[in-house]
Amino acid sequence: MKIRLDTVVKTFDTFRAVHGVSLDIESGELVALLGPSGSGKTTILRMVAGLEFPDGGAIYFGDENATDIEVRHRGVGFVFQHYALFPHMTVGENIAFGMKVSKTRRSAAEISSRVEHLLRLVQLEGLQDRFPAQISGGQRQRVALARALAVDPKVLLLDEPFGALDANVRRDLRRWLRKIHDELGITTLFVTHDQAEALDLADRVVILDKGKIVQTGTPEEVCRAPASAFVMNFLGDANRLKVTVSGEKAQIQNVTFDAPDIADGPAELFFRPADVTWREDGHGIQATIARVIDRPDSRRVLALTVDGQPIEFDAAPEFPFRADAHGFVEIRRPRVYPA
């Protein structure tokens, strides 16, 4: 089912949560809404679900205007951040709930065979008689997904689906959710504040800031060509240096970088910590090493430029650390954004 948001606006009391967001989600696509807290991503998800109603704009499911259809009749599967499993029902009863209250009558045998099928799908065979309090967080997450899928939703919506889980469980569940999505081909929209999660899982990433979409694209597109300093910063560690632009060239110390389409005046140069080579001599931005942080696969070096701007870069684990060592920073893949 194709979903279309047309200049959707939502205001809470005095606080504007969503400012005119337009978005097309193709049928069968897996899309991430990525943004910091307060960026309006959950509000957008809840409006697609029908748990909130927009103050302006419209939401289409296929060709049908779904803006005013209430959640009960909208045919969406919603997975809540804290799963919202019914604590007084067993896993099996939780999954069967949607089928039991549905208008399409199903026989008890039909329901129980579908519950079993869904438990197999989410790899929880044999747990149907447990209560939610008796299973792990990752298992609850999968029960919540099975429960949402039980009603044959047109669209699957997940609010911070892995937010409350351990790092390892998260990574496994991420890959697993992608597999399920590929098997079922159901249009899926999920909300996250974790860029790794969005990039790992989604066909397309929608980056939000302060209730507006700042960039939409495949993980490759948003990583390789961040549309703004905000996106650059939000997607991962980034160094920021103050530079001066004149004639589409950015300058810091004696080093110049291409700055296409940037107006003359002060600007900001961004680069990733991995895109740095440290040189004892030669040319580049002059800097002094201050500190080293060890990581399993590399060393993170903290340095200061001659004019006192901090730089962080990744070096091989063998990188020799000497405090106050002088050297030069050579930058690959620099990006210049207006200040």
Binding site: V71, R72, H73, F80, F86, P132, R140, R147, A148, V151
Partner: protein, 295 residues
């Protein structure tokens, strides 16, 4: 073993601790245990046969009936009111929500006698609806309806007060989940909300019931104290006492006290099940311990 000398925690000096415990125990004995013991003792001071005869007195029996009737009407109505109020306050946003929260608590802070007098002014002969009621031949004051109304006013907050903190802690997620799965409002309430609040609800009902049965102040104003007609058990006890029928008064009081004890036992039993305590939604409900099912 080396003797560890560490300063006692604040307020943990033995003298202080023992004095505190002794004072509290003495006060409990003096204020709570002694009067209750006297009731039991006096009620049976002339033997069980006399006690039975006193209870069998038609006016006493009528008073018991009156109290039971009042509870049977007032408690269910206030339960429905409490559930509706708690639901509205915790699940919906509407203007005046905070005000409603305060208004519900008023009966806690107002003296019951004020409530009684207020009802006199509304339903009494010289009151707001007095003439209309009289011409319609509807009797509210000095009859069961007045007693029920006054009892309801006094006990209105009990159920709501138990439910609101619990439902606030549970949030709206469960209801939203049920609705997103296609459940109607009623289904959501009966199959999702109610099972998760049932112990707190029952706890509130028990508190409400014990207060309805024991209510004196408000009821004494509106009932008119007509012996054998509009006397509830607490009013009847006072009447017997003023008649210098001490044994009768104590016998009737012992019934009320017995009701209170039964209520107390039910309350403690419920507290063991987690009612009256706010719990995280994922742990609330009736799920048995993990140890019961893991092999």
């Amino acid at each position: 073993m080396a003797k560890t000398r560490r300063p006692p925690r604040i307020g943990d000096a033995p003298v202080f601790r023992n004095t505190m415990i002794a004072v509290v125990l003495a006060l409990v004995a003096l204020i709570i245990i002694a009067p209750l013991a006297v009731i039991g003792y006096e009620a049976f001071s002339k033997g069980i046969a006399y006690f039975g005869k006193t209870i069998a007195n038609s006016d006493t029996r009528h008073a018991i009936l009156m109290t039971a009737m009042t509870a049977l009407i007032a408690v269910p109505i206030n339960t429905a009111f409490g559930v509706a109020a708690a639901w509205a306050i915790t699940k919906f946003d509407f203007p005046g929500r905070r005000l409603l929260l305060i208004v519900i608590e008023i009966p806690f802070s107002v003296s019951p006698i004020v409530a009684g007098v207020a009802y006199l002014f509304v339903y009494g002969l010289q009151g707001l609806f007095g003439e209309a009621l009289q011409s319609a031949d509807v009797k509210i004051l000095f009859a069961l309806p007045g007693i029920v109304l006054a009892s309801m006013f006094v006990t209105a907050p009990f159920v709501a007060r138990e439910l609101i903190p619990l439902m606030q802690a549970q949030g709206r997620d469960l209801e939203e989940a049920a609705t997103s799965l296609g459940a109607s409002g009623w289904r959501t309430f009966f199959f999702v909300t109610l099972p998760n609040i049932k112990w707190a609800l029952l706890y509130g009902v028990i508190l409400c019931n014990s207060r309805v049965m024991g209510e004196f102040g408000a009821v004494s104003v509106v009932s008119g104290n007509i012996r054998g007609q509009t006397n509830t058990l607490p009013l009847h006890i006072e009447l017997l006492y003023h008649d210098y029928n001490a044994v009768g008064a104590f016998a009737a009081a012992s019934i009320l006290a017995a009701l209170a004890v039964v209520t107390l036992i039910a309350k403690v039993a419920l507290e063991r099940r987690g009612a009256g305590r706010v719990r995280r939604p994922s742990l609330a409900g009736t799920a048995p311990d993990i140890s019961e099912t893991t092999p």
